[in-house]
């Protein structure tokens, strides 16, 4: 049995807005990510998928629950060595390639920032070599290191975002909607690049997206989120061929199929979220890999 790379247990993330009002963004979410696999997280906007990613990489302080990464507990207070391990081994790719790169820094410096902070090179020549290598790996050229973000197209910028994550040689990359701002033909290029990189470096992805067909294509396992609850998890096959939770069924029925004669008459399966009281539900096992949140009563 392989040890999971990331164990999330009962993660809760609440944001206190005022004395009487708290946003419960994430409510008791548990899942594992194994080394070298891709875990897709899908859900509507406001379901908490981005929050989960940000809590894991500790951009937020989790309200409750336990996160174990690489054998170390990374929830709660972080000591110096754990923090250093976390920052080196977990990286993030953001959604909007236009706003996630500092317009005043050269591409080389954006990518090299992590190397500088963790002092991962012995001299400037070595640093530039590492950056040039990584640029080549993501399909750009080492000469691009001297340019500024605005000189690149959206697809190229997202490649820079990927290079920035990769340069640290991380074990886990959190990709938060990293292709939704790109054109269809460019999306395919970036997703293929991410797959190639995974085959080479054996890194794991937490792939957060709302585009179900893309998630299906890239993920080994999928978690479906609704209102901060993980309503169903399973392998990609479990979720797509045998969805159990009514919310998952509704979500799948809304994905448009590029087939006009069928799509014109397809009905959305409705899901009344007001009725569901997830507080009373527990995760029930359907098969080895497939879990569903169901009412105990």
């Amino acid at each position: 049995m392989i040890e999971p790379l990331l164990k999330v247990r009962n993660l809760r993330q609440h944001f206190k807005i005022s004395r009487s009002f708290t946003v419960k963004a994430v409510n008791g979410v548990s899942f594992d990510i194994y080394p070298g696999e891709t875990f897709g997280l899908v859900g509507e906007s406001g379901s908490g998928k981005t929050t989960i990613g940000r809590s894991i990489i500790r951009l937020y302080d989790p309200t409750d629950g336990e996160i174990i990464f690489n054998g170390k507990k990374i929830s709660g207070d972080l000591d110096r060595p754990t923090d250093k391990m976390l920052r080196q081994n977990m990286q993030m790719i953001f959604q909007d390639p236009m706003s996630s790169l500092n317009p005043r820094k050269k591409i080389g410096d954006i990518i090299g920032e992590g190397l500088d902070i963790h002092k991962l090179y012995s001299n400037v020549k070595e640093r530039n070599e590492i950056i040039g290598e990584i640029l080549k790996k993501v399909g750009l050229s080492p000469a691009h290191a001297e340019r500024y973000p605005q000189q690149f197209s959206g697809g190229q910028r997202q490649r820079v975002g990927i290079a920035r994550a990769l340069v640290m040689n991380p074990k886990l990359i959190i990709a938060d909607e990293c292709i939704s701002a790109l054109d269809v033909s460019i999306q395919a290029q970036v997703v293929n690049l991410m797959k190639d990189i995974q085959a080479e470096t054996k890194c794991a992805y937490l792939f957060i997206a709302h585009d179900l067909s893309m998630v299906k294509y890239i993920s080994d396992r999928i978690g479906v989120l609704h209102k901060g609850w993980l309503v169903e998890t399973g392998t990609t096959r479990d979720i797509f061929s045998n969805p159990v939770h009514p919310y998952t069924k509704s979500l799948l029925s809304a994905v448009p199929i590029p087939n006009p004669k069928i799509e014109r008459h397809r009905q959305l399966i409705p899901y009344n979220s007001a009725e569901a009281d997830y507080e009373r539900c527990t995760l029930r096992q359907v098969s080895d890999t497939h879990y569903v949140l169901t009412d105990v009563a």
Partner: protein, 347 residues
């Protein structure tokens, strides 16, 4: 079939600091009355520019080199901006914009925003306008429309806001509705509901609809006719069935294969290499040649004319020339299309 809107050979250049950008290079689009036409393409292909020309929203740095836009018998390009605003916009042609977050005024209640167009374009009393606004809100599926009239945009969710935008567009009973990526900013479940709503209203009011989108799934759901745009040209057009079951242009092939559907289990997604051309430097020959693995020598020299396949279907690629070598589309796509045809019982 009678066309309510007909764009003929539209050619537009933009003057910019960097130089002239030839954004539209001879675009022809017909919108039959009561039907839905989709305009598909990547960003920068000229879909939005085409529609801005129809509604007179082009920026001042644009130069219309040639072309006509006939709405029934009027050439919209011959009208001044003022005439367009007084007679066409809102009352004949209305538009829904992409982002419901930014296309509503945050300082006005939604009631005021729906009534604004009516009071401006039609002779109607404030009391009647109010009644009509409430009816419109009910029609687009907003609960308790009377109290919602006093809400501000920030009090509504994204899907609700897009419903309000639709209500505004319908307020003057237009004949044509132009939807510029109406659901890209919304979740899939909300998207499905909004598309159903537009379809429903279309059949109730006898609207003709133009969709601008890059999502082929949405196109399959709503469109009767499809126009595929690339680098300021329509490179393939046809009925939705012809485009989805029998595409002929390699770019259309690429678009269809780059989108994973829920049934494909390929290891690798086909992607169109490179990126769209910069129209600052006008491409020589076929604009798609640089990204096309089927490109022939002639593609680099001469621009392909549009070859007719059926009365409704045409594509601008040299591959359709009688002397061209017979080229098969990629095997994965062929399988996928066969599966789609079979599922749909399409001969």
């Amino acid at each position: 079939m009678e066309n309510i809107l007909s764009i003929k050979n539209l050619d537009i250049t933009f003057r910019t600091n960097a130089g002239l950008i030839h954004a539209l290079r001879g675009v022809n689009i017909d919108l039959p009355r009561g039907k839905t036409v989709a305009l598909v393409g990547e960003s920068g292909s000229g879909k939005s520019v085409t529609m801005k020309a129809v509604t007179g929203l082009l920026d001042d740095n644009s130069i219309i080199n040639s072309g006509n836009i006939f709405y029934q018998d009027t050439d919209l390009l011959k009208l001044t901006k003022r005439e367009l605003r007084q007679t066409i916009n809102g009352r004949q042609i209305a538009m829904i914009f992409q982002d419901p977050m930014t296309s509503l005024d945050p300082t006005m209640t939604i009631g005021e925003q729906i009534m604004e167009g009516m009071l401006l374009h039609t002779k109607i009393s404030k009391v009647d306008a109010r009644k009509k606004a409430i009816n419109l809100l009910a029609m687009v599926g907003i609960n308790e429309p009377r109290s919602r009239m006093k809400s501000y945009p920030h009090q509504l969710s994204g899907g609700m806001r897009q419903r309000v935008v639709i209500a505004i567009a319908l307020s003057c009973e237009p004949k044509i509705l132009i939807c510029d990526e109406p659901t890209t900013a919304l979740d899939v479940t909300v998207q499905a509901r909004i598309l159903d709503l537009i379809k429903d209203i279309q059949s109730k009011m006898g609207l003709s609809v133009i969709y601008i989108t890059h999502d082929l799934g949405v196109v399959a759901k709503v469109a009767d006719f499809v126009n595929v745009m690339y680098a300021g040209k329509i490179i393939e057009f046809g009925t939705a069935e012809e485009i989805f079951y029998d595409p002929r242009h390699p770019y259309t092939w690429g678009l269809l294969s780059a989108m994973p559907d829920l049934e494909t289990d390929d290891d690798r997604l086909y992607s169109i290499p490179g990126s769209p051309p910069n129209l600052l430097h006008e491409p020589k020959g076929d604009a798609f040649a640089a990204r096309n693995k089927f490109a022939m020598k002639i593609d680099l020299k001469a621009e392909p004319p549009t070859f007719k396949i059926t009365d409704t279907h045409g594509a601008a690629t040299w591959l359709l020339h009688p002397d061209a070598p017979k080229i098969e589309m990629p095997a994965e796509l062929r399988l996928r299309l066969a599966r789609a045809r079979k599922a749909a019982n399409y001969d």
